[in-house]
């Protein structure tokens, strides 16, 4: 039960496109099919969530989509360019411009302050230090951490750290933001912080692909894809909700 877009190349509005993507490790008896034939189209401005049990390959898929790794087979198109056959150098350049990654473990540099962490992708892309710093401060403001700029990650809460990581992912105005279990290490309140942020991003038109365990994050998506054993098994469209009969949810007769 997968999406019924055309099975040829990417469409005009597809920011991210995967066709028959496979990722294998090992050989023979030790062969592991982490991703086993996945087709996916993500349109501009869409939020897509991928859910599934541990080991189902969703993180691997995300790495393939985000130019962090290369597929064993299949094609991946990002912002209209085919990326599965690119060399490491070209992929690195891609990561600067078209992709922003958010990790479960935040992966902030411990010895850099929040604002220094956020400006790093811009510096790596060759922007001037002043421009990078300015953009960094803007982004921190956007995620609601304007006053936390000079703080080290150790002095920030989990939710704040992840928000800094999101700001970092937005640094070079990527075509798509990929998030791998963004709330995996967060408690309930911090999860809500990140939820709000994703919601804001969604409303601002940012394309977002999220891999998650958390139903709350998944529920913010336009489409929710279930993955098991390396392939997609289900898809739910969640758009078009209104503020329905909330009372009935708690037994208020209505």
């Amino acid at each position: 039960m997968t999406d019924t877009t055309d099975t040829s190349g990417p469409t005009d509005t597809a920011v991210l496109c995967a066709r028959g993507v496979h990722k294998h490790y090992g050989t023979g008896a030790g062969l592991v099919r982490a991703v086993d034939g996945v087709d996916l189209d993500v349109r501009r401005g869409e939020t897509v969530a991928v859910m599934g049990p541990s080991g189902c390959g969703k993180s691997t898929l995300l790495h393939l989509l985000g130019a962090l790794d290369r597929p064993s087979r299949g094609e991946v198109w990002l912002a209209g360019r085919r990326i599965d056959a690119l060399g490491e150098t070209a992929l690195a350049q891609l990561r600067r411009t078209d992709v922003g990654f958010v990790f479960q473990a935040f992966h902030l540099m411990e010895e850099l302050t929040a604002v220094e962490n956020v400006e790093l992708p811009a510096l790596l892309a060759g922007r001037s230090p002043r421009a990078a710093r300015r953009r960094s401060e803007e982004l921190l403001d956007q995620v609601g951490l304007a006053d936390r700029g000079p703080f080290l990650p150790a002095a920030l809460s989990g939710g704040q750290r992840q928000r800094v990581a999101v700001a970092r992912a937005l640094s070079n105005e990527p075509a798509v933001v990929l998030a791998d279990e963004p709330t995996g290490n967060l408690d309930s309140a911090a999860t809500v912080e990140v939820l709000r942020l994703f919601d804001d991003l969604h409303r601002a038109g940012q394309t977002l692909v999220v891999v998650t365990h958390d139903e709350r994050i998944a529920a913010t998506a336009d489409r929710l894809i279930s993955m098991r054993d390396g392939s997609f098994v289900d898809e739910i469209g969640l758009t078009g909700g209104t503020r329905r009969d909330l009372g009935a949810l708690v037994g208020l007769e209505g």
Partner: protein, 641 residues
């Protein structure tokens, strides 16, 4: 007792787990201990041949010499640069006091003597080479004290000359070759060795005008006229010597004395050595031995200086090793504390590992050093037999062990204490090694191109390591500076009188080369290892940088540069102030004469620095490159564990 065993066992197990590092540690310390051992035992090794020769030739306990007193000569009209006048053309004021020698022979401590033998200074020509010689007249019958051992050919005969073995080797003469002495022809009838005088180019001087040995060309040019330069020793029959002397009054006399107690030689000289121009000059066998083994002592200086440098380098290596493994150690410390270990126990376990390695290194160094010492002290043809394997005395062993322990101790002391003091909770949580933050460096690096940006930040995370790299390179380059100075000096003084090559400089050059090679090898091993440690330390940061858009080449360049920059700074320090300071320090300690040497020119130093940078770049490129090849996702996930 149980605790000591426990400490030992924990230490041993951990070493076995981390074999590569233990091996590296061992290697670094062994380099220092071996060189140190060599330095300490070399002169002992070199003494053997002299002892052997003394026995075989029944060498004298004291040599007594008298010479004629020359009249003061006016300055040579052509000036000092024209070279000395012929040695036989001197004007005698007072003849040698032969009677004084006979009196000495009557002393109660003297049980036997040979001589007095006449001796004359002359110029000898053999083929293209010319040299000053001291010719001693001997009987054909063997003497009771000091009968030189003939190694080729026969003993003296009329018309024949027996040449001292080292001298013969330097001149390149063999039995049967014709030579000219003071214009007369002779044939070489034999080659012999003796313990009564040090081998060529050293000598016991019994010429009236005195002798000079060695010296740079400038010094040689300034010698007074008539002085012998690097005289060789030859033996003729007594009549032949008397014929050689144009003026019989200019003859010198030499007598070899055997005492009842050889150990009393110094006291004998004290009692009878009178400081007046006519009195006999006395030399003990020990003084001769010291002259003979001078080469070994010079080599020893080089080796000891080298051992110091290697010791310092080893400390730097140990520090880096210990520092990079501290994260691992911290967790162990936490576990030990959690099960009840006191801070003292914990520090003991940490130190024990390194001390074990240091002890092993001391043992290896002692064994290897004493076995290879004979190879470095070739006594040459002038003595019988070759250097033997010296025995390790307790003081030597104690020094080497102490140095090895010091190296291990200094390198590990600070981290061990710090680790021992850390609270258990922190240790288990492994927060001990959070990278350092240097705010201004981070700000500065933002302005640089990407590889330098990353390089500077990598270096800033572990400033101690960058400093250690710089210090290691400074030490190495300082050492090379001094080696350069020494090599130049040896070259300058390699040629003796008459254009003869001094075989000893060859040997010293060899020793110098050995030390330089060891130092360079250790520095290279250090560079590779530190780069690898940096790569490992920065796996996460590198992977993250790549995930954020840095190319693999940028990352590997950064990791290599993080090494190269401190290395460059260290090389500069070593080449300019460092080497100069080291040289003067060594001079001050060994009492050498720094005016005699010329310091390396600027271009040589710059070339040295440039070469160093190139070498470091190539050495660090490989580990840096290998580190950059890993998959980004694997590295990031590994760090999440």
């Amino acid at each position: 007792m149980g605790r000591v065993l426990l400490v030992g066992r924990l230490a041993w197990r951990d070493l076995r787990r981390r074999r590569l590092e233990a091996a590296l540690l061992l290697l670094a310390t062994v380099a220092a201990t071996t060189t140190l051992t060599l330095g300490l035992v070399l002169s002992d090794a070199a003494s053997d041949p002299y002892e052997h020769t003394r026995e075989a030739t029944n060498g004298p306990d004291v040599v007594a010499m008298v010479s004629a007193h020359p009249r003061e000569r006016p300055d040579h009209p052509e000036g000092a640069g024209a070279g000395p006048a012929g040695p036989v053309d001197i004007v005698v004021d007072e003849p040698a006091d032969r009677a004084a020698l006979d009196e000495l022979a009557e002393e109660p401590e003297v049980i036997d003597h040979s001589g007095p033998f006449p001796a004359v200074a002359a110029e000898m020509q053999a083929g293209d080479l010319t040299s000053d010689v001291q010719a001693v007249g001997r009987d054909t019958a063997p003497a009771a004290v000091d009968q030189p051992q003939v190694v080729r050919g026969d003993w003296v005969a009329d018309g024949g000359v027996v040449v001292e073995a080292s001298f013969a080797d330097a001149l390149g003469v063999g039995v049967g070759d014709p030579v000219t002495l003071a214009g007369r022809s002779f044939d070489v009838v034999g080659i012999a060795v003796s313990a009564a005088a040090p081998p060529y180019p050293k000598s016991l001087c019994f010429a009236p005008m005195g002798c000079a040995s060695g010296g740079t060309p400038e010094e040689v040019a300034g010698l007074p006229a008539g002085m012998l330069r690097d005289p060789g020793l030859v033996w003729l029959t007594t009549p032949d010597v008397q014929r050689l002397a144009t003026d019989p009054l200019s003859l010198s006399y030499v007598m070899n004395i055997e005492l009842t107690d050889p150990a009393g030689a110094a006291a004998f000289v004290e009692a009878h050595g009178v400081m007046s121009p006519e009195a006999p000059i006395l030399a003990t066998w020990d003084e001769i031995r010291v002259e003979t083994t001078e080469l070994a002592r010079e080599a020893r200086t080089i080796l000891l200086a080298g051992a110091w440098l290697l010791g310092l380098l080893a400390v730097a290596t140990v520090s880096v090793l210990v520092g990079s493994r501290m994260a691992d150690q911290t967790r162990r410390v936490g576990l030990l504390k959690a099960v009840g270990g006191t801070p003292r126990l914990v520090a003991a376990v940490l130190l024990a590992e390194y001390l074990l390695v240091a002890l092993a290194a001391a043992v290896v160094g002692l064994v290897v050093g004493s076995l290879t010492a004979p190879l470095l002290t070739d006594s040459g043809p002038g003595l019988l037999g070759s250097a033997g394997t010296p025995s390790i005395t307790v003081p030597t062993a104690a020094i080497v062990v102490a140095v090895a322990l010091a190296v291990a101790g200094v390198g590990t002391f600070v981290p061990a204490v710090r680790a021992a003091r850390i609270t258990t909770v922190d240790a288990l949580a492994d927060t001990a090694r959070a990278p350092r933050r240097t705010g201004w460096l981070i700000a500065v690096s933002a302005r640089l191109p990407v590889p330098l940006l990353l390089a500077l930040r990598i270096a800033a995370r572990r400033p101690r390591r960058a400093v250690l790299t710089m210090v290691s390179l400074a030490i190495t380059i300082s050492g090379l500076y001094v080696a350069l100075v020494l090599a130049t000096f040896l070259d300058d003084t390699a040629t003796l009188a008459g254009g003869i090559e001094d075989a000893r400089t060859e040997q010293l050059n060899q020793v110098l080369l050995v030390v330089v090679v060891i130092v360079l090898t250790m520095a290279a091993v250090n560079a590779i290892f530190v780069t690898w440690a940096t790569v490992l330390d920065n796996r996460h940061a590198s992977a993250l940088a790549r995930a954020l858009g840095a190319t693999p080449r940028q990352v590997s360049t950064a990791v290599a540069s993080a090494q190269v920059l401190p290395a460059f700074a260290g090389a500069l320090i070593g080449a300019f102030p460092g080497g100069f300071a080291l040289f003067h320090a060594i001079n001050a300690i060994t009492g050498g004469d720094s005016d005699r040497v010329s310091l390396p020119p600027i271009w040589q130093l710059l070339a040295l620095v440039a070469a160093t940078v190139l070498v470091v770049v190539s050495l660090t490129a490989v580990p840096a490159r290998l580190g950059g090849r890993r998959s980004v996702t694997a590295a990031l996930q590994a760090e999440m564990a």
